[in-house]
Amino acid sequence: MSKIVRTMASLLILFALIYGVYIIMHGHLTPGGGFQGGAVFASGVALLIVAFGSEIVHKSLKEHHLSILESSGALIFIGLAFGGLAIVFFYNFLVGSSIFGHIPPSGPNPGDIWTAGVIPFMNIAVGLKVLAGLSAILLVMALATTLMEVEE
């Protein structure tokens, strides 16, 4: 794309990625969570692909690294689910402990980030999984279309 689009994209990509990570990290306090934040992050990757072209993005973002990231996110998620197996599958075993263990007062309150037990970790795991998966889909499809254009 033109120089204007590339300059604006390289400025706005910071805000898009930070907003995605913010939605993932604050999933237990504000609307959003792992899936939504991962989708926002992947839309930042889509902005990069549109502005700079998939070949240049592919130099620093390989799809096998993304698939490793996605599989590790899935493994962390299932591992956390098995962590509560002493009582029941998906038991929130960190509530009341020293890690993310604060319990907020009932009713509307601003809350603090150090709450909710395993839910922040699950948000991070699912967010990792979704951002890597959607970015891999976008990158692989964009690469395939550019290759087909070259060959024709």
Binding site: G27, H28, L29, T30, P31, G33, F35, E63, S67, E70, A74, F77, I78, A81, F89, F90, N92, V95, F100, G101, H102, I103, P104, P105, S106, G107, N109, G111, T115, A116, G117, V118, I119, M122, N123, V126, K129, V130, G133, L134, A136, I137, V140, M141, L143, A144, L147, M148, E151
Partner: protein, 87 residues
């Protein structure tokens, strides 16, 4: 085939008549979650506490579907295969 299909359709119709009317027994589940989500899971966002705690198993299925979709798309658009097509 026809017998099993007719049994299945008959079962669906019978269940459609046997199901309770919409909203008739007021559900206790939502009240329970609104009352107890903050004290049980510690999350201020009750939606996230449902998604990742009360119904975590559904989220596991959702993640599995996404994983299968990504695997299929990445396998479909492999680069080596595309560059080998060139006649």
């Amino acid at each position: 085939m026809a017998v099993s299909l007719s049994i299945f359709i008959g079962f669906l119709i019978a269940t459609a008549f046997l199901i309770h009317p919409f909203g008739y027994p007021p559900s206790e589940m939502d009240d329970y979650i609104i009352e107890n989500a903050q004290s049980e899971t510690g999350a201020n966002n009750a939606v996230t506490s449902v998604v990742f705690d009360y119904r975590g198993f559904d989220t596991l299925g959702e993640a599995t579907i996404l994983f299968a979709a990504v695997t299929g798309v990445v396998m479909l658009f492999r680069r080596k295969k595309l560059s080998r097509i060139k006649p």
